[in-house]
């Protein structure tokens, strides 16, 4: 694919683009070396942040905002890092600073809403998200969080409406599809739920929660083997996934008990052994396997 880069027109395009894109975002009067250094520091801070090195990123953004106390991007980044490090009061103060100085900074306002939710202040959160929609009626994020709030109340109708609205506004985030699927489940609409779980996975095939929950939808519709395959896939992505282990153990344990009740001890034993593969100390499987062993000894 890199062959494109040797093509002449493409080189021309590169030459045309040899402009400091950063400078075009935040116009500066004169591009100085100090300015370049500052931009380089911000890029470095963002890089550290995205790589999860939060302490190092925080130090850089703290430095930058000393010199540029009104730099909204840096304030927002610093606030976000503080939120991730559970310094929620500091985060709220920083986002609040941005919101106070910029009437249309929707990022800060969305996060102020999220921090309200974190504190359980639902009315305040709702007001923040509504404010964002007043500033930017096309803000899919605000619709998403309003959908989350409705979903938490198990108000499926409202949740579906908000998540659908977020999608209409251009969101194709896997989390929106995933939560929409859950909202459909809460309304006893398994086919729509299945569709949305599949859409989640079309975007992010490693979405373990969607894989897991789709497994139960399929299982409840009679597709037991497909469900187990999905939970196995979760374990292949994360061998420690407790939900997938629990689900696999549960369906194997249930099947084992059914076989046991029908007098099929061989099958039951095999299924309980499989149960133990997923939950090493599953009390039911251990008990019944010991019981089967005792019965086998007695019959000899």
């Amino acid at each position: 694919m890199r062959q494109l880069r040797s093509a002449f027109p493409f080189l021309l395009a590169l030459l045309v683009l040899a402009i400091p894109a950063w400078g075009t975002v935040q116009p500066v009067r004169t591009v100085t070396s100090a300015q370049e250094q500052l931009e380089s520091r911000i890029l470095q801070g963002a890089d550290l942040h995205y790589r999860g090195q939060l302490d190092a990123a925080r130090v850089i953004f703290e430095e930058v905002v000393v010199g540029q106390p009104n730099n909204e991007f840096c304030l927002n980044q610093l606030a976000l890092i503080n939120a991730k490090q559970e310094r929620f009061e500091v985060a709220a103060a920083l986002f609040g600073r941005v919101a106070a100085q910029s009437p249309d900074n929707t990022f800060a306002r969305i996060w102020l809403g999220v921090l309200h939710l974190q504190r359980g202040e639902t009315a305040e959160a709702q007001a923040r998200f509504a404010e964002v929609l007043r500033v930017d009626p096309g803000n899919a994020g605000a619709c998403y969080f309003l959908g989350v709030m409705a979903a938490v109340e198990h108000d499926g109708v409202s949740a579906v409406r908000w998540f659908r609205k977020a999608q209409e506004l251009g969101s194709d985030d896997p989390e929106t599809h995933y939560r929409l699927a859950q909202a459909f489940l809460s309304m006893d609409m398994p086919l729509n739920a299945r569709l949305e779980f599949e859409r989640t996975l079309a975007i992010n095939p490693r979405h373990t929660k969607a894989l897991h929950d789709l497994g139960w939808v399929l299982y409840n519709q009679g597709f037991g083997e497909e469900a187990k395959a999905l939970w196995q896939r979760v374990l292949s992505l994360n061998p420690d996934d407790a939900q997938a282990r629990t689900s696999l153990a549960k369906v194997h344990n249930d099947a084992a008990f059914a076989a046991y009740e029908q007098g099929n001890r061989e099958k039951a034993a095999a299924l309980w052994k499989m149960t133990l593969q997923y939950e090493h100390d599953n009390k039911a499987a251990r008990y019944y396997l010991q019981k089967l062993d005792r019965q086998a000894i007695d019959s000899e």
Binding site: I19, S171, A284
Partner: protein, 362 residues
């Protein structure tokens, strides 16, 4: 610049998965002030190459505030939002669902069936609109504690907790299943052991709105008596609540599915909010059930408590645990062993849940 844009767009058409081209397109659109298209291509670049910090940062920077719509978008270039404002996974247009304008989409069988399901639901909602607000209860999971080789508490007269729990839960399920619009599930329907992890798995399997676990209490103090209701909290509300939680969680030494850990991201914060709300709704449910039971049953009212019960904590919905009396108390054991008392408990709980489901929410 126009020429550069034309060439780059042509390049993106030839190699739509080329992150380098999308990054350049992002810069080019930015340079001509077309921020919406710039965001789209920066996002694509960052999605295709997760090490492209610059593109990701530009998405974060540009989407801090509203990005005006532009009128010369190519199909897909209007898709602006990764919803969670954390610049995590940029959105994709690879999915047929991402940009329906790009290719004509023929509905799959599942899509057609889902559409029918949605139309049927819309019709139902139109016929029975729900104007009320508050937490909705449509699916209830009833959990008969213990079972099989795990008898739970055993009274001096030989009454086993697992038998009382099952009788009450099954009777309660029968009654609740008659309530229109309410679906009821049991974690066990006979005398067999169900691991704690499997009990909450049932609740999650059916996306339950409420989880009620039935238990009987026991104490070394033979005088202890009465019924009480528990909901979940991180800390125990009293020493007695801690003791009861430790007893009911005692099976956990066999249960490896207890794990924790993980960093904090936006979904973690939303999870905490959800859990707090569920615990709040559970506390309200517990208060309602306790009040109702105390008004009907001949046992002392020991009130509502909170503690960290595994079976409650792992449920993704409001969950409560009823201790319907003390098997260690001779008088209460005798009563709990009677079908009349078991039926009275079941009827009272079913009545309370039915009212919560049909009432004004939690």
């Amino acid at each position: 610049m126009d020429e550069a844009l034309a060439v780059l767009r042509q390049a993106a058409g030839v190699e739509p998965e080329n992150d380098f081209v999308h990054g350049l397109l992002g810069r080019a659109f930015l340079a001509v002030g077309k921020n919406r298209q710039a965001v789209f291509h920066f996002r694509r670049a960052a999605m295709l190459n997760t090490d492209d910090t610059y593109s990701r940062m530009m998405v974060d920077l540009l989407t801090q505030r509203p990005v005006p719509a532009e009128d010369d978008l190519l199909p897909g270039e209007g898709a602006l939002h990764a919803v969670t404002p954390n610049a995590t996974q940029p959105s994709s247009t690879d999915s047929p669902y991402a940009s329906p304008g790009t290719t004509p989409h023929v509905p799959t069988d599942l899509e057609r069936l889902a559409r029918q399901e949605e139309e049927a639901m819309a019709e139902r909602l139109g016929a029975h609109p729900s104007g009320r607000s508050g937490y909705r209860i449509r699916r209830v999971v009833l959990d008969a504690g213990h079972g099989g080789f795990d008898s739970g508490a055993v009274g001096a007269g030989g009454l086993r907790e697992k038998d009382v729990n099952l009788a009450v839960a099954v009777r309660c399920a029968e009654l609740l299943s008659r309530t229109p619009g309410l679906r009821v599930f049991l974690t066990r329907t006979a005398d067999y052991y169900v691991p704690l992890s499997a009990r909450t798995a049932v609740a999650n399997q059916y996306s339950a709105d409420l989880f009620v676990s039935f238990h009987c209490n026991a104490s070394t103090n033979r005088e202890a008596q009465g019924m009480e209701t528990y909901s979940c909290s991180e800390g125990a509300s009293s020493k007695e609540a801690l003791r009861v939680a430790q007893f009911e969680n005692s099976v956990l030494k066999y249960d490896p599915a207890v794990s924790g850990g993980g960093g904090v991201d936006i979904e973690d914060l939303l999870f905490r909010y959800e859990r707090r709300r569920h615990w709040q709704a559970a506390a309200m449910t517990a208060a309602t059930l306790q009040r109702t039971l105390a008004g009907v049953l001949p046992f002392p009212d020991r009130g509502i408590h909170a503690a960290d019960f595994y079976v409650l904590r792992k449920a993704r919905m409001p969950a409560i645990l009823l201790e319907t009396g003390f098997l260690s108390n001779g008088a209460e054991e005798r009563l709990l062993g009677t079908p009349e008392q078991q039926a009275r408990i079941a009827v009272t709980v079913a009545d309370a849940i039915g009212r919560l489901a049909g009432g004004g929410g939690l």
